[in-house]
Amino acid sequence: MTNGSASLVRFQDAAASAEPEIRSFMGNEAIARGAWEAGVKVGTAYPGTPSTEILESLGTYPAEDVDAQWSTNEKVSLDVAIGASFGGVRAMCAMKHVGLNVASDSLMSQSYIGVNGGLVLIVCDDPGMHSSQNEQDSRVFGQFAMVPVLEPSDAQEAKDFTKLAFALSERFDTPVIVRSTTRLSHCRSPVVLGEREQFSTKGFKDIPSKHVALPSNARIRHPIVLEREQKLKEYMNASSLVRWEPGSKEFGIITLSTCYTYVREVIPQASILKLGASYPLAEDVVRRFCDSVERVLVAEELEPVIEKELRAMGIEIEGKKYFPRVGELSPEILREGLHTAGIINELPKTTDFNVETVARPPVLCAGCSHAGTYMALRTIDARVMGDIGCYTLGAIEPLKAMDACVSMGASIGMAVGMAKANATDKPIVATIGDSTFMHAGIPPLIDAVYNNANITVLLLDNHTVAMTGGQDHAGTGRTLRGEETHRIDFEQIIRAIGVKWIKTVDSYDVGSLFRTYREAIQYDGVAVVISDRPCALDPVKIKGTPFQVRSDGCTACQMCMNLACPAISWSNELFDGHHKVKIDQTTCIGCSMCAQVCPSDCIQLNEAGAT
């Protein structure tokens, strides 16, 4: 069985002896590698930063070895993995933290049922919300569902722990969560490659009393889950997942995940107890560790998960008193906390250079097919319930045509609620991307028709999951491995649901967008407009003849800048004190939307600039 704890040492041994291959892997690639080495047969995911590369990477392994697929949403992806596990093979599904909310319904019951082939969930948290709507701590889900949560600290451990997770899953008859964070998923470090384990299918096991989640069965299973927790605790007590690094007698730190690396960086002289799993806790070891040093701190990111457990065990420890519950931990934040705690005397010197440079917030791409949509939408002065994707940027200036955004697929349901609240004279509009529509937008559209809501739904079909880097989905007609497959026809689905008013418009035709939106909001009932145009970046990077501004005609009204196109900025010329505009010729992709809205008609094709 893999021993994750000694990863660094193993690295050196390996380099010295037979020289197995060492590669620099992103945490996500290492997880995929670990799953492949463990003989995984089925891998599924719905994309979500920072987890997306796990399945992309798994899809680079031979198709005979592993079936890697994009699923419609996280719950479907977990259900597919569960089915594969029932079928007797090792299965994995990967998701970002909020994806687990979607998949949790199945997880909760599957915890009672257990597994046949190993079942591993990879859950990637995003402390600091680099690209997420919240920073929930998924470890709490592990406790809630009573499934083990392994927490690797670097790419080598990410591979080793993933492999181990499959073995633990089968040995203890439980799904296992491997929890990553952005900092691990997107950090590259060396990984020693291993061979693929030949895992032959166990075949389906016909045990209805275990596999069918009926109250009568579940009542029997629940106590078994509690016993399992106990066995897992015993396992953890003896497992090399837990590593005790003796140091100072005065001061000890209990830590795990990438937090361990910060601890080693900042206070290597401390006694360190590195936990490989946040649930269940290696209680005996933790007690002995705490007894062996005078003062113990817990260094963990986000919620005080371990701290609370230890308190419940009656152990005196400190933690969140000194370290924040929000955001990412870092060496400097850890150092500051330890300084406040009186453990570190001095803070290192830093440069006394503090200037506001310039803000560079994320923006829509040049020629983004969402830009015209929101520009047009703003003029109809509607209440807009938004959704999650690149188009959420339509909420900020200068597009600023989104009033609320909560979670994937929520827009249509919220619009129905808004309409039922009957609290506004404004038309009520929901905007939703193609992938988000498929993820969780279809049930609320059914709800809208069923409950006869007066709303307009704009389906922004840019033929890809753009936000997460351009993955395929059921509406693109291609699979994760790029093979052709049936392409879901949105219009047919929407019609079948019972929507009577449907129109498809070209997202680059700004005039049609204005007109069609106006018509749609006039319609009494559910109206759907499909704004159709591929994303400028994926699957194909679009680059057409660029447009340029005829400077003598520009009246500096800056109307075109309302499109939020990053190719358009100020030129050095002024008109009546206002800046005229210019178009960056390498950035412009030639979508023509700015030319369409220019009241002075001075934005024109630059044939000479065609590439």
Binding site: W244, R264, V358, A359, P566
Partner: protein, 314 residues
């Protein structure tokens, strides 16, 4: 592995805590410039030299023109994937303002700052439509930087690469400069560059590398320093401060909606009588667009000058 509780936890001997501190290189720039590619090349070079290396980046929003940064740490042992504040040995910036943004990460005593003087002003900072508005792009000269970090170099790498005939080799020029601050051999660098660039561009990339390397080793950077000062945008223009008054002749307005749709500030609406109304006088910049577009001359924009002042860089 055993499940027995009696088995004692393996207490590992402390790894040698006296291992040399890792070398920390922070590479920063703007999405699309190649920050990640440059750091991957460096990381690969370290790996081939049998060093431990960690490279950490946040790239979720990179493609959308946002700030991109990548921490590369290497040595006989590396723990934290991120460089602690004030401990970067080298800050390599592909863009000027990004270099300044991360300056506090540089070791104040021994850090080396190498930055391209290229200035990418985000369109986002050109959103103020008032007369004489300025972008809030930071203006600092190399001399100001030098007051905080002794080893600072600013260079027009993009210009140098353009002169070589391929502006896309700017990053290789910067790698040449970076190479002077690290211990790898020139042969190793050339080999890794050969592995990383398209074969067709190998020759020009090798030249670009040598150019960058020699630039730091010679005293050419003195001349280039003047270049940064030049590259600092000119002083703010004189602006007329004005009051704007919108005169709407209601009787002539037929509610066609053209001005409402076209007002860049969106401060016009049609009221319940289908007549245009100014809803947000403070937002109106007096651009006159509505005046020009109204087919019925229903809007007149009166702009009255109060005084002329120098616009302030914000």
């Amino acid at each position: 592995m055993s499940t027995s509780t009696s088995a004692a936890v393996k207490r590992e001997a402390r790894l040698d805590t006296a291992v040399a501190e890792p070398t920390n290189v922070l590479i920063v720039g703007v999405g699309g410039q190649g920050v990640i590619t440059v750091s991957k090349i460096l990381a690969q070079l370290c790996l081939q030299n049998k060093l431990k290396v960690k490279q950490s980046e946040i790239h979720g929003m990179a493609k959308r023109g946002g700030a991109v940064f990548s921490h590369v740490r290497f040595g006989s042992e590396v723990y934290s994937p991120t460089i602690p504040l004030g401990q970067a040995d080298i800050l390599l910036a592909l863009e000027w303002a990004e270099g300044l943004r991360w300056l506090s990460y540089l070791n104040p005593d021994s850090g080396t700052f190498i930055s391209d003087t290229q200035m990418i002003i985000p369109p986002f900072s050109c959103r103020d439509r008032e007369r004489g508005a300025t972008s809030n792009y930071v203006h600092r000269t190399l001399d100001q930087v030098k007051q905080h970090v002794p080893n600072a170099f600013a260079v027009d790498a993009t210009g140098m690469a353009t002169e070589l005939g391929n502006p896309r080799t700017a990053n290789t020029v910067l790698l040449g400069m970076l190479s002077t601050a690290l211990d790898f051999t020139v042969e190793d660098w050339q080999a890794i560059i050969a592995q990383s660039v398209p074969p067709k561009t190998l020759q020009v990339n090798q030249k670009a590398f040598v150019l960058g390397r020699e630039w730091i080793q010679s005293d050419k950077h003195i001349a280039a320093r003047e270049h940064v000062e030049e590259a600092t945008p000119p002083a703010a223009p004189m602006v007329d401060n004005v009051v704007v008054d919108l005169e709407i002749t209601e009787a002539w307005c037929k509610g066609c909606d053209i001005c409402v749709k076209m007002c860049p500030e969106r401060c016009l609406v049609l009221n319940s009588n289908e007549i245009v109304e100014l809803t947000d006088p403070d937002a109106c910049t007096g651009c006159r667009l509505c005046e020009w577009l109204c087919p019925d001359f229903a809007i007149a924009v009166h702009v009255q000058k109060i005084e002329t002042t120098v616009a302030e860089h914000r």
